[in-house]
Subunit: 101 residues, 2 copies
């Protein structure tokens, strides 16, 4: 399959690098995604969340990302956090280590 | 009174990413908006505030944003706060966690 770069890539926006963290900030993974929908599917696979509802928020401040257009406006390498049912965004620990609970 | 811009940048300024917080800072959502009017409409939908009066202020210091031109001068990813009737802006808790009540 050949990729034409000069060609205006209509339907598919270019894949962008995303970083996805678990709610406890213990695991962070790099994932390429063309769209929010694509990212959601990949997160389901990678974190084995099939059939478990979850939402994606910005790791930095808990902003909910649930529209394609907002996703597209984010910078490359934005860090997302996966929140499953009952999980809440919390600010990173002030103590320096992100691995301290 | 007519506004003459050098270049007719037509009706739609580019959509900009905004973050919108509830007054208690428990929910923050990413919303794309072309204008203050657009943002107000989207906030009504997203936070289900139809027919409930509210105002938008800056989350950082409670500055009221109620003119289109001031909105357009704000940076991308400015954080707004929705204040409904009886709600007042309050500074973030000093205790570190925004979820502490």
């Amino acid at each position: 399959t050949q990729q034409l770069l000069s060609e205006p890539s209509l339907e598919a926006p270019r894949a962008r690098p995303c970083r996805v963290s678990t709610a406890d900030r213990r695991v962070r993974k790099g994932i390429m995604a063309h769209s929010l929908e694509d990212l959601v599917h990949k997160v389901q696979d990678v974190l084995m969340l099939a059939n478990k509802p979850f939402s994606l928020v910005l790791e930095e401040d808990g902003t909910i990302v649930d529209t394609e257009e907002y996703f597209q406006a984010l910078a490359d390498d934005t860090v997302f956090m996966v929140l499953q049912k009952g999980q809440k965004w919390q600010p990173p620990s002030k103590k320096g280590s992100r691995y301290q609970l």
